[in-house]
Structures are given as structure tokens and as C-alpha cells.
């Protein structure tokens, strides 16, 4: 009897709390709406929230681009979901709500266009290359790709994750085989890099841009141009987007000179 009452009481408390939350967000929306009316910024009439699902390697650069975008469009909110392109693609096919998808490879974008969930045609907005990273000072003495076969545990992205597939292509072109027993697989490029910066992995193959943002936590060893691969980053708006005008505006901003300048500053190559 007593527990039943307690249960009911808790349920009521929970419901009340939820109601308050909903109420709050309602009123917040209204406030921003009236702000909009009051300010009536001439530059933009866009409003709403877009969810951008983007590859982990885009975390920093996209955050900065979104800041630019929202500065220009004060009534717009950009929310991010960063993970490996393949995880994001799986989530989107499973129906995860998103408005924009930015992948680190074309294969995953193709998966989505084949599934018919991309509206219009995706556009390439950046390119990237891969690099070997070691611990600061390169304690394992890794000078080239073939050293990776004997250096101990190497951190690579999962085989279906773009950076993992690129790494496999590079190693194959260079004729280097690393025993799978010495490979720890990161679920995305961030986790792959962390195995070197936080953990005990001897080296990792990651994007040039990630190596750059890791700063002096790692030392970069270049991959020779003849075996390196170019990662191409496509972006597209989802068919299911409920704020497709904002989503398209965001995509346009990434492709604009302003957006491209930021990408370039982070070490991305601009599409030819």
C-alpha cells in the first residue's frame, strides 16, 4: 500500500517536472520569436534548428563554421552529432533525425543517396590526407609505413570507418602488412587518435587535420604522396529535413568562401 502511494507520488513528481521542462522550452521559443520581431535583422529571415551529422574529423572546423553561420543568422540553432561517417550513416538509415550529413568519404554518402534519403545532389566541400602520428618525440622511431609492422600496437579506425578504409588502402599500396593482433580499432578517428594521446598505442594513421589539432600531443610522420589517398568530404541535405531552408543555407555556407577559408585554416584541402 505504502509503496504504491510512493510510486504514484513519484510519477506525479516526474510528470510535473516534465511539464515544467516543456513549458520552459515553449516560453523560450516564444521569447526568441518576439526577439526576432523586435530586432528584425535585415540580413536573414531564417529561423529554426538544424541537426548536422558530421564526421568526427570535422568536429572543430564545423563548430567554428556553425558559429559564423549562427552569427549571421541569429534565430538559427545548429546542433551537431559527431561520430564516424559510417555510424552516422547507419543511424540516419535507422531514422535518426538529422538535417545535414557531412561524411569523410564518398562511399557512405553513396550509401545514403542509394537509400534515397538525400535531397538533391551532395557536394564535395573539402579534401583531406592521411598521416602517421606517434607519441611526442617518436619514441618507437617510426620513420615510414613499413616501421608500423613492427612498432607494437597500432591504432587504426574500424575497417568500415572511412579513415580505416583509407589506412587499409595506404598500407596495401605501400605493401605493408600489420598483423590484426597488433591493431586496435577505434570507432571513429577521435578514438583512434586517443589511443596514441591517452593510451599506449605506438602510432596511428589519422587525417592530417586531426594530427594538426592534436598539437604537440603527437608527432606527425608524413605518408609519401605516391601511396597517400585523398579523402573527399561530401555534404548533403536530408530528404526528411523539416527545416530544409536552414539546412540548405548551412550547406551553402560551408561551400561559401567564408566557410572554405575556415576549412583551409584547419588544414583541409579545398576541392579542385
Amino acid at each position: 500500500m505504502r509503496t504504491k502511494q510512493t510510486l504514484i507520488r513519484w510519477t506525479l513528481v516526474t510528470v510535473a517536472a516534465l511539464t515544467m521542462l516543456v513549458g520552459c522550452s515553449d516560453s523560450a521559443d516564444k521569447t526568441s520569436g518576439s526577439d526576432d520581431a523586435a530586432r528584425a535583422t535585415p540580413r536573414s529571415e531564417l529561423k529554426g534548428t538544424v541537426v548536422v551529422s558530421a564526421a568526427t574529423s570535422l568536429t572543430e572546423v564545423f563548430t567554428e563554421i556553425a558559429d559564423q553561420f549562427t552569427a549571421a543568422n541569429p534565430d538559427v540553432d545548429v546542433e551537431f552529432n559527431f561520430d564516424s561517417s559510417s555510424t552516422l550513416a547507419t543511424q540516419i538509415i535507422e531514422g535518426a533525425p538529422a538535417d545535414v550529413y557531412a561524411s569523410a568519404d564518398e562511399a557512405n554518402m553513396t550509401k545514403l543517396t542509394d537509400a534515397g534519403v538525400i535531397a538533391g545532389k551532395p557536394a564535395i566541400f573539402a579534401e583531406n590526407e592521411l598521416v602517421i602520428v606517434t607519441k611526442p618525440g617518436n619514441p618507437s622511431g617510426i620513420d615510414n609505413l613499413s616501421d608500423l609492422a613492427t612498432a607494437g600496437v597500432i591504432s587504426l579506425c574500424g575497417e568500415e570507418v572511412p579513415c580505416g578504409r583509407y589506412a587499409a588502402q595506404i598500407l596495401e599500396k605501400a605493401g605493408v602488412a600489420i598483423s590484426e593482433a597488433n591493431v586496435t580499432r577505434g570507432q571513429n578517428v577521435g578514438a583512434t587518435l586517443a589511443a596514441v594521446t591517452e593510451g599506449d598505442a605506438a602510432a596511428a594513421i589519422v587525417y592530417v587535420t586531426d594530427a594538426r589539432s592534436a598539437g604537440d600531443q603527437v608527432e606527425a610522420v608524413p605518408v609519401p604522396a605516391e601511396v597517400n589517398v585523398t579523402a573527399t568530404y561530401p555534404i548533403g541535405v536530408l530528404e526528411s529535413s523539416e527545416a530544409s531552408d536552414v539546412a540548405e543555407a548551412f550547406m551553402a555556407h560551408v561551400l561559401s568562401d567564408e566557410g572554405q577559408a575556415v576549412l583551409s585554416r584547419y588544414g583541409f584541402l579545398l576541392p579542385r
Binding site: G158, Q187, D200
Partner: protein, 251 residues
């Protein structure tokens, strides 16, 4: 009533969802892949080892917490139970900061004995024990605390020394809780993901346990992931059934 029904539905729906997506005809094929077997074998070995560690080291600790007259017991208990509430990934990072090659302890172990815990199966066992042992300790401690210590006094009056009393009276009397604690710890170890992938990495055959394999397989081979999930589900069910006297049959 309605709330309770809803809650039950909340627990049942994901299970039904999972089962409904199983490709039963392809299940045996998915499970007989060497990768699945490797992951299952590794999972069983590592979780069993972690459980043995939990019993060996957790029992004296539980006894000390329940009966010992040590200062700051509440603080020690909180520290020991911390991994229960800590996000496992944080636990993994904490283990890294203590036992990675660059840490004082990990470095010393490697320099002196050539032992590397990160990226090793031993590291998996350690991560699992770190997360699972508190479940064992708290269960056994509760049983020891609830036990009538006059039985132990009676045993002493019959001429039994402290160790004999513990072995022949205390332990058998809390045996059901020791078993329950071990099963709980084992189940927790078997499902361990965050601390393992953070501390021990994700190396096929060495540190890629079943939950890690499920996560990785979600990308490449969804049916494989579901098949592996079914294995974990079956194991969890077996655990629950073996504990039914404690939970399911409670009236």
C-alpha cells in the same frame, strides 16, 4: 497499475525488437564465424578471470568492511563502490592514467617485469574486475553484516580458530550471497564495454570482447551484431534464472 504495465512494456519492447530482427536461418552462420567465436571465447575467459579475482580479493575486503574495526570505513566503502556509479569510460581513463606505459605504475611494471597491461587480455580482465568487483563486494558485505555473529562466537567456543570459523561457519552461511555476488559480478564483467575499450583497446582475439564486437559489427554487418547480441541476451537470461530465488521469486 497502468504505470507498472507501461514500465514492463518499456523493458520488454527492446527485447522484442531485437528478437524480431534476428535472421534465424542465418543465425548459426553468423555465430560460427571465427570472429564471433574469438570474441565469445575471449569474453568468457576474461569475465571468468575477473570474477575469480573479484572473489579472491573481494571476499576479504567485504569481511573487513562488514566486520573490521577500521577507521574511515565509510570512506573506504565509497571508494570501493565508486566504479558502480562511475561511467565505465571514465573508469577506463582512470585505469589508463594509473597503468598506462607512461604512468608511474604501468611504466614500472613494464620496465621491471616487462608487463604491459594496456592492449592486453590482462588489461581486459583488469578493466572488467574494476567495474564488476563492487557488485560482489557490496553483495557479500551485506550478507556478512546481516549474519548473526553469535554463530561465529558459538563456533569459537567449540575451539575453532578465526580462520576455521570463517571457513567452516561464516563462508558456508553466506554462501548463497557469495554465489549471487559472483554471478552479478560475472554478468557485469561480461557486458563490460566502456572501460575495456578505453583501457585495453579493441584488438581482435586479444581484447575484442563480445560487447566490443557487437559495437564494431553494427557498422559492417548488422546481422552479425544482432547475432552476437542474442548470445549476450541468452547469457543474461541464464544469469537471471539462476538468481530467480533472490529476485524473481521475491514476494
Amino acid at each position: 497499475m497502468a504505470a507498472a504495465t507501461l514500465t514492463v512494456a518499456f523493458f520488454v519492447a527492446p527485447l522484442v525488437g531485437l528478437l524480431q530482427r534476428v535472421d534465424w536461418s542465418g543465425l548459426s552462420g553468423e555465430l560460427s564465424s571465427p570472429q564471433a567465436w574469438d570474441a565469445l571465447r575471449l569474453s568468457l575467459i576474461c569475465s571468468a578471470s575477473a570474477t575469480v579475482l573479484a572473489i579472491l580479493f573481494g571476499t576479504p575486503l567485504a569481511w573487513l568492511l562488514a566486520r573490521g574495526d577500521l577507521p574511515g570505513r565509510a570512506v573506504i566503502r565509497s571508494l570501493v563502490l565508486l566504479p558502480m556509479v562511475l561511467p565505465p569510460v571514465v573508469g577506463g581513463v582512470a585505469l589508463l592514467s594509473a597503468f598506462s606505459l607512461r604512468s608511474p605504475i604501468g611504466g614500472w611494471l613494464n620496465d621491471t617485469f616487462g608487463i604491459q597491461l594496456t592492449f592486453s587480455s590482462a588489461g581486459v580482465v583488469m578493466a572488467e574486475a574494476f567495474v564488476a568487483m563492487p557488485f560482489f563486494v557490496i553483495t557479500v558485505e551485506g550478507a556478512l553484516r546481516g549474519m548473526d555473529s553469535r554463530f561465529e562466537e558459538a563456533a569459537a567456543s567449540l575451539g575453532a580458530g578465526r580462520l576455521t570459523v570463517f571457513r567452516r561457519v561464516t563462508l558456508p552461511m553466506v554462501a548463497p550471497s557469495v554465489v549471487a555476488g559472483a554471478v552479478l559480478a560475472w554478468a557485469r564483467a561480461l557486458g563490460e564495454f566502456g572501460a575495456t575499450i578505453t583501457f585495453a583497446g579493441n584488438i581482435a582475439g586479444r581484447t575484442r570482447t563480445l560487447p566490443l564486437a557487437v559495437y564494431l559489427a553494427l557498422e559492417t554487418n548488422q546481422q552479425g551484431a544482432i547475432a552476437l547480441s542474442i548470445v549476450l541476451l541468452v547469457v543474461s537470461l541464464v544469469v537471471l534464472v539462476s538468481l530467480r530465488d533472490r529476485w524473481l521469486m521475491r514476494t
